[in-house]
């Protein structure tokens, strides 16, 4: 070959596709294993949680995030650093309440559904990307922040954008949000 293999741009795409395709195969397998959409959703969330608890260390090792002093700062880092690093997109952020504990991440483009045109027949309640909610929830819990993370809008269900809602609950450890491991 005249050019070194790793410099070919096509291979970046293959590498990116690998995660998306594997995720698709996983969802397909779970749909075979579980009849109810709620069970698939719960399983995806659980798997995501497991990934999130380990991913956060990988993230902190790769990025040089400074200490956060507010939930807004944390959400900004999730959107602008973490999402960009792992999925190549930067969701926009909105704050949904005056006490600044409820936020939304708005994804115009969702790489996870690149190869998915629509939900499978009879699976209208499936939260295809529920792994993401689990990942965010698991990662936050590892830095001692409890949060509810759910999908508020889903393009696969006919919405214009994908919206992930993050609601911070009572801090697990009062002192912790001043320190980052």
């Amino acid at each position: 070959m005249s050019r070194p293999a790793h410099r070919r741009p096509e291979y970046h795409k293959i590498n990116k596709d690998l995660f998306v395709l594997t995720y698709g195969a996983l969802v397909a397998q779970l749909c075979k294993d579980y009849e109810k959409d709620e069970d698939v959703n719960k399983y995806l969330d659980k798997m995501g949680y497991g990934i999130g608890t380990r991913l956060v260390e990988d993230f902190l090792a790769r990025s040089c995030v400074r200490r956060c002093h507010s939930y807004s700062e944390i959400i900004d880092i999730i959107a602008q650093v973490a999402f960009k690093m792992y999925l190549g997109i930067t969701p926009s952020v909105t704050c949904n309440n005056s006490s600044r504990t409820e936020f939304s991440l708005i994804l115009d483009k969702n790489p996870l559904v690149e190869f998915v045109e629509e939900l499978p027949a009879g699976r209208s309640s499936l939260c295809y990307c529920n792994l993401l909610c689990g990942i965010i929830r698991g990662a936050l819990e590892m830095v001692h922040l409890a949060a509810d993370v759910t999908f508020l809008q889903d393009t696969l269900k006919g919405d214009r954008v994908t919206e992930i809602g993050i609601t911070f609950l009572k801090k697990l450890d009062e002192k912790k949000y001043r320190r980052k491991k």
Binding site: A5, R8, K13, K16, Q29, G50, I51, G88
Partner: protein
């Protein structure tokens, strides 16, 4: 982009969860989990094969296809080339990776030898799926003598 990390985390979680879900106490249960993972790898391998640059699909002979898997596909998927490729020139190929990325996180040597096959099933399917898209029917198995070195055995099925 840290895509490789995300895939590795997902793969590790899949091995843990699918195993727990599908396993029966007896040896039959173990085979079922490996075949589930292998099947998923096959689907992904087929899809990846379809995304390969067109000029790579015009191979002169079977050995070129295997060389392609060892270089281009392995680099695209694991950011490194396969370390060695051997063949008996009669349809059997042995691909050896001396530091297979999906085994790297586990302690080197013999401690996790029993666990290793679970971490190889998906990749066996991946190879089989990519070969399938390139027009070759095969059986792919993997063996580990000592982590993180592993060998993938590809046996071409003549139809």
């Amino acid at each position: 982009m840290a895509d490789a990390a995300l895939f590795e985390f997902l793969h590790t979680e899949m091995v843990a969860e699918l195993w727990a879900h599908h396993s029966d106490p007896g040896p039959g249960g173990q085979k079922m989990s490996l075949s589930v993972l292998e099947g998923m790898g096959f689907r992904v391998g087929q899809a990846l094969g379809e995304r390969l640059p067109q000029e790579t699909l015009a191979f002169r002979e079977e050995l070129d296809v295997l060389k392609f898997l060892c270089k281009d596909l392995w680099v695209a998927v694991f950011q490194k080339q396969m370390d060695s490729l051997r063949t008996n020139h009669q349809g059997t190929y042995v691909l050896q990776d001396n530091s297979f990325p999906l085994l790297i996180r586990m302690a080197a040597g013999l401690q996790y030898l029993e666990e290793a096959p679970k971490f190889l099933a998906f990749t066996c399917g991946l190879l089989r799926g990519a070969l399938s898209t390139l027009g070759i029917k095969s059986l792919v198995t993997a063996s580990v003598a000592s982590l993180p070195t592993c060998k993938f055995q590809v046996v071409i099925q003549k139809t």
